[in-house]
Subunit: 270 residues, 4 copies
């Protein structure tokens, strides 16, 4: 009998320089904060102060007490935590949308993926994780400030399989691309170039907030040689469970955006 | 300037033995069917017949005509297509749920993941893709018929990083597991064993259809040493866009299940 | 102490000619059927046959047994039951939408309401109930077949405060109307006439299935002197509760239409 | 040809003492405020001040300018506006839920309706409107402060067909009641008394926030002689339409409560 044991880095205790997710009771909801732990520094919360010196060397998942007895849970941040907590200057793509886009577009470990509109890098982070070490993400962003922020964010998370380009996605240089993701206001302006860059059957996935953009994306896509169009919206409902009762949370995010999926079609005369 | 080119298998033309997604106009909706192409065989649809001999050698993404002029699009099935089309004897976990579970549980390329309740193997397939070649999925299933079907399904899709065990998940043997996924009726019966098998901070993700199970999962989890509980429901809305108009589809899936996420907590006295 | 007692007709036992709602267990779901009871006639179900002679004289709410022992519940149909069961040749407006439209448009007992597009009469029925005996509904329908059906439906339900007109709603003759409801494909074609017919501040409520119609309704409305535009969509989730478990129903109606509410604005120079 | 003209009070111009809905552009959203206009008084907004003396005598629906040129729309508040703006000390029932409850429970002009848990009186107001002048609402509330507030609210809106009782709904005195509405934490404690008070086939409608209450309501109801149970949740999506684009609002109310409908069943031996 073989017993398998994970060789992921999380089996190591917490080390200086690690990103850590602190979870503690806020006034209404639980609060989640991602911080990098540094010797001699502190994390201040309304339930008390945490010394990073106490954290370093602990196991992930430790429940600790602050200076004033408050409880803080110390976790390895997941991809979802990092995406939600990413320092941002733009609207980000949320995990609920990013995860669905990736699975629907057929992104796999090893894929070559191109992104138009890096923004703060939240979708980039998700794509980077999906293609793995053997894959590659190339992301285009014209705004230099966004690109600087995204670059810092990706470095912060130790990402190594992403190339950021300070160019318009219309200048896309990659070939035989497995999937292209567009998080820009006018995806239809890129369809001609995207068609050429994609491999036959490759996926074009656009994320747009308004109905007008969603409609134009589908109709323009058809004219540019894309087919198999599907349009989705992912709604996430969160629930509260405590000793007394179970119920959906009283507020929810009502809308982030529409996901438009298409595939590059090649007309064939048999 | 380096120009990156995908090295994924999809740049190869369609070959004998490949799984192919056929997409064609049905009576009301587009139809999607996954088939394995074999020389000398045919695929029959209400828009006409497709000879596999004509398919082999074509590029993915080809739009072909059937014997009677019907249009059929030939695509490389995505992970989502395979999950939705998986031969099944059980209720499956849909891509909308599986993708969100994976991103929330922090599964990455290289992770060691254990699944309780293989069923038809749809979530298994998604986990296999998420952990990649450097990771591993171990899946437990007591029902021999389900296991046989799942085994056939995974083989059919060429999956190599999954180990199926015909055992109860309570006999879980793995250690330092990154994440455990439970798709069984009584997840709380496994919490003690799951706690031991997980690494500190590791994720326990349960998928349950009813509110009673959801509640019990959260409350029992707390008693078993799990924390940071979150409960989600993913609702998917699909849209129709044609020349005339844009609107949400008149029917939708109203409920699949609740996703309960928890993390293994280790109490620490600093 | 005064004790109040209802003087509604339902305190009378079931009489020949009454509309009755039969409720009984179907193969998957409970079935609801509205029938008019006639002496000497029968209602046939898969749980057995009910003789109307047995029904007449019973109290509403009676649980009876069929010829073969099946259980059938005999209820006074509510407004909602009648709307859902209305004989139809058009898409109807469902109770979830109609009830919200009525409350948002400020319809009260005594109101004068005009409807454009009678269709099968389902919204008409709801409006009739809302304005009561002291109010009036005038409904326009160009299609004679629809009008005949609607007329039959309203007569069947004993409605007395509705006037049906076989005219285009653009020929609206009423003045100082409290609220106008439009269930037609091109509501903007009527806005000029609707504006004149409404009293200042009066409500214009349009029900449209597509986003293009919804958008055009709002933008054209503004140009025609309407203000305070609000756009809503009502989603209804149904739950299953039995001894074993509680959960949302696996299927739901994904879309019926958008509700656009506006008010007639009069520009004033103080 | 008879031309019908509304005889509702809204055809009168605005008079001293009327409740008025002021609608004006807020920082993010439109703001709606209900006020009673009094000679010599003012309404102050961030778009300027409105003198009630200027309002009195205007037509409903007037668009006026404030002292500093801001635009304010002056509307007759609808039932829905009044319910949403009701002064409150409790969680209120929203129009989306109240309207659906009323239509599903079969409340009509003339009905005798009993309410358990008056709260701030928002549902009471809706019931009062639905039963009209020929009907009656009797509402029970044990909390004297709530009752005082509800009484003030109903008086403020000129309601005349409601009787408030400072008693527990378990002491319900009415007979042959058409429908009973319960907005209390433990509706099952009242089922025995509600069954006796209802006419055969009468509707019992409970509004409860949690799953546990919803489930217990259904199961206890069955044991107490109620049948035809249906459980609903009404979700309301709001849309933004402006010159540039159309989209669902980014935030929405995620949960208010579950609506449980049942009917009084009388077992009959034919």
């Amino acid at each position: 009998m073989i017993i398998y044991v994970s060789n992921m880095s999380t089996k190591m205790p917490i080390q200086e320089g690690d990103l850590v997710l602190f979870l503690y009771r806020g006034k209404k909801e639980f609060k989640k904060v991602v911080k990098r732990v540094r010797k001699g520094e502190y994390f201040h919360t309304h339930v008390g102060t945490v010394s990073y010196d106490d954290i370093i060397g602990l196991e992930w998942g430790s429940l600790i007490r602050t200076s004033i007895g408050g409880e803080v849970l110390v976790l390895k941040p997941t991809l979802s935590d990092l995406m939600e907590q990413i320092p941002r200057r733009t609207q980000i793509i949320y995990p609920k949308d990013a995860a669905f886009m990736v699975i629907k577009a057929g992104v796999l470990p090893g894929s070559l993926v191109v992104e138009g509109g890096t923004g703060s890098g939240s979708l980039t982070l998700c794509l980077s994780s999906a293609v793995g070490e053997s894959g590659l993400v190339v992301s285009y962003e014209t705004n230099k400030d966004f690109l600087k922020l995204a670059s810092r964010n990706l470095k912060r998370f130790g990402v190594k399989n992403v190339i950021l380009k300070n160019k318009d996605i219309r200048e896309i240089e990659e070939k035989e691309v497995d999937a292209i993701f567009l998080d820009i206001g006018n995806p239809w302006d890129v369809f001609e170039q995207a068609y050429r860059a994609l491999k036959p059957g490759g996926a074009l996935c656009s994320f747009v907030p308004s109905y007008e953009q969603m409609r134009r994306t589908v109709l323009s896509g058809r004219e540019s040689g894309f087919g198999a169009a599907e349009v989705y919206e992912v709604l996430l409902r969160e629930y509260e469970v405590d000793e007394r009762r179970t119920r959906p949370k009283p507020w929810m995010i009502g809308h982030t955006g529409f996901i438009v999926l298409m595939r590059k079609v090649v007309d064939v005369n048999l």
